[in-house]
Symmetry: C2
Subunit: 460 residues, 2 copies
């Protein structure tokens, strides 16, 4: 162990290699709060060549290397195990280029998402990737986890936004393909392997993002719908008539009532007695005509009974109010809250929510201490669930996990929509992927990281 | 050799295994016309289990298996080598499901693209994948080659349209993940490996496509632009003001003059003395308002000098006329025509065309027998080049290849935008991918197909 530290200090410089008390406690893990151990060492390289050197040394020594970005993950993917070296990308930061002709930007992995968004915007472009932790999440982690977020329905997951990638492999080989071309079928598209594999196959160092035009209008409405079939029809219509919403966020009444009754939320856009709620956002390119089209769309939906009521945001404050309801931060005040991020076939999401709620109630009967709140990016088949129940002796989060993930399996859903597998969902990967698939994942891992040094114990 | 044929006949039934003169000459290869040898045998399975059995047997025997779809490829990717067995997917055909709630369709690999498009349309959806050979190309081949086509600028390559995949591996393992969910981060996204790897890592048997709403309006214009910077600005504006064109097809004057002067074309939308030409198509969702918005967009571009002239198609016949010019079939009449499909950084395409033209002229001076025509899906960075020159003794297509691909390398482009590598471009893969990348491709090939039986000699 001492050898690798000494070797890293020699090659990278002593100031880049921290150990023991020099390592801040935040490097123990991500926002899931499940990281418990400090790494053997923390390195914070300032160049790709340094990252390559560090990996080569770790690979030779057979020492685990755990990449860390903004540590905003929710699946334990960046938690270092005991004896592992944490490799923070935080000093390998910055926007290298915005290419206005190609409509691309090239960004270092350690760049905070919001910094990249702002650089794109100041060049007149939209970097469509967006999520709540934009201020601290880093683009390398976003791509390594194939991050989703609020606008996937319009622009796709992180994967859909990446044109080129530079990755350092376990043995220190630097794989550079900073492609800016939309069409490129020259050989296997290797970057796809590294997107969404959570740092287990290589460490992403540079990203070429495809940029989009900045939207010229944003319309936002908060609607109430009588039932789930109406929600599905409303979505279909929004896709046909508006060319697709940029957000379509559904909230079940248990979510809506709890959040809007809580003093931190401060607004209740519609009465709490409706069947379902949906926040619809449409970003368009005709500032003059779009608001009227949006209103016409909602008027038609109201007339046909797909929605029972709707309010359109008249100013930025109301937009923020609507989103604050949807963000549901009030739920964070609940004791030992368990958050789920699953996906399900579109047609079955309401049935899933009902089945899941029923099972939870059967085990932890209704009462002031029992909460299960359902909401999500339904246009992407993505449901979030917040559960807070009064555990009896010997019970814990694991029991809620077992119950919810078993229901996901029964409904042929995915145990991870956008947060990844990390360590927290590893035991449930088999609920959504077959043994044959998991065997192929292991074959790929062995092919690219034969000594198993890259983020070991994560995903598979 | 006889053993494998006997084993296949035993397992699949004798009628499914053709040899010698029973094999039609078309199974020698794809539309590149470079396939010269009949396969050892041709099998045409009717079920995934049969495909799995055939692969298991071939793998045990170490016999090459070459998947064949509609044989419309242009890179020799489906040409069987001597001693290989051709596996035609043509009997494994049909649309299994259109799921209107999920907005997906599940299709067998041997289904012609046009059949799938029609099934989607009759359920009220658009399957956005579209290309000239839609009538005979099969969806399995489309996905295996990550096909592009005319509407990539709006909907992405085949990869962007695939949500789920079933693949048979070299050893006969069936890898089924018929995912319909837009967000699914449960483990490595294995399907990405098989998309675009041209049947070298597995044989695709089923595909889940993401469907889109049918467009409600289509506007088409043929425009002339003074120069390439104006074209780039026009594209940027179309993306901002129209929310993106559905086709943006640029033609250089050498292309336009030859094609519109040829008797088979029968129309010349604009005079032949402009700097560049572009066919712009916009598909929208507001049948009432879109035509006027399109006209306003063109009016603004005309006023600002980005275009010098434009005609808007007033009826379906004119739409067809415009597209017939763009398709440039007149070029097929030229002797020993060499077609290129390359991509280049957006900002450099015109410079590339000039450099390439100059090099061709330097070697084969201008004259009635020398033609080089440039056109392409410029919004996707994709340029096509048609070259017909009078070879001297000892010269041939190879010399044109060398010249063009060397120029692509100099401009940091890709030797294949949408047609793939197959056999024809294999020698040039290193022009666009690094030795480190090609080494990783070989590692993946060895991990998934250790005996090297799947479409050997293709891509890498």
């Amino acid at each position: 162990m001492g050898d690798i530290i000494a070797a890293l200090r020699l090659e990278l410089g002593a100031d880049q290699v921290l150990t023991g008390a020099e390592i801040g406690t935040r490097y123990r893990g991500d926002m899931s709060g499940t990281g418990t151990t400090l790494p053997l060492a923390l390195i914070r390289p300032r160049a790709v060549a340094e990252i390559a050197t560090a990996l080569r040394l770790a690979n030779e020594a057979g020492i685990a290397m755990v990449p860390q970005g903004g540590l905003t993950g929710l699946a334990g993917g960046a938690n270092p195990g005991a004896g592992a070296i944490a490799l923070s990308l935080e000093r390998w930061s910055g926007v290298e280029e915005v290419d206005a002709q190609a409509g691309t930007m090239t960004v270092r992995a350690g760049t905070p998402l919001e910094t990249a968004q702002e650089a794109a915007a100041s060049a007149g472009f939209l970097l469509p990737l967006d999520l709540g932790s934009r201020g601290s999440a880093q683009v390398g982690g976003n791509v390594a986890t194939n991050a989703g977020g609020n606008r996937v329905i319009r622009y796709g997951m992180a994967r859909a936004l990446v044109l080129g990638l530079e990755v350092v492999l376990a043995d220190g080989t630097v794989l550079t393909n900073l492609n800016k071309m939309l069409k490129n079928n020259a050989g296997f598209d290797l970057k796809q392997l590294f997107i969404g594999s959570e740092g287990t196959l290589g460490i992403i160092t540079r990203i070429v993002f495809r940029l989009r035009p900045l939207p010229r209008s944003t319309s936002t409405a908060f609607c109430a719908a009588p039932d789930y079939p109406s929600i599905l029809e409303l979505l279909r219509r929004a896709e046909g008539e508006l060319g697709g919403p940029s957000a379509f966020e559904v909230m079940w009444p248990d979510f809506y009532r709890f959040v809007t009754a809580h003093p931190t939320t401060k607004s209740q856009p519609l009465p709490p007695d409706h069947g379902l709620y949906v926040l619809i956002e449409h970003q368009g390119n005709d500032a003059a005509a779009d608001p009227e089209r949006f209103e016409t769309f909602l008027g038609g939906a109201l007339e046909d009974g797909l929605i029972a009521d709707a309010v359109i945001a008249r100013n930025e404050k109301e937009v923020q109010d609507f989103w604050r309801v949807r963000e549901g931060l009030a739920l964070d005040t609940l004791p030992h809250l368990v958050n789920f991020d699953v996906s399900l076939p579109m047609g079955r999401i309401d049935d899933f929510a009902a089945a899941c709620r029923q099972k939870l109630l059967a085990r932890w009967p209704a009462g002031p201490e029992s909460h299960a709140a359902f909401f999500g990016h339904i246009g992407d088949s993505n449901l979030h669930i917040c559960v807070s129940v009064p555990y009896r002796a010997g019970e814990g989060m694991h029991d809620v996990d077992e119950l919810v993930y078993a229901t996901v399996r029964d409904f042929e859903g995915s145990v991870s929509a956008e947060h990844g597998i990390g360590t927290l969902k590893r035991d449930y990967l088999g609920h959504s992927r077959s043994p044959a698939e998991i065997a192929v994942m292991r074959r790929l891992k062995a092919a690219l990281d034969p000594r198993g040094i890259l983020n070991p114990g994560k995903v598979i």
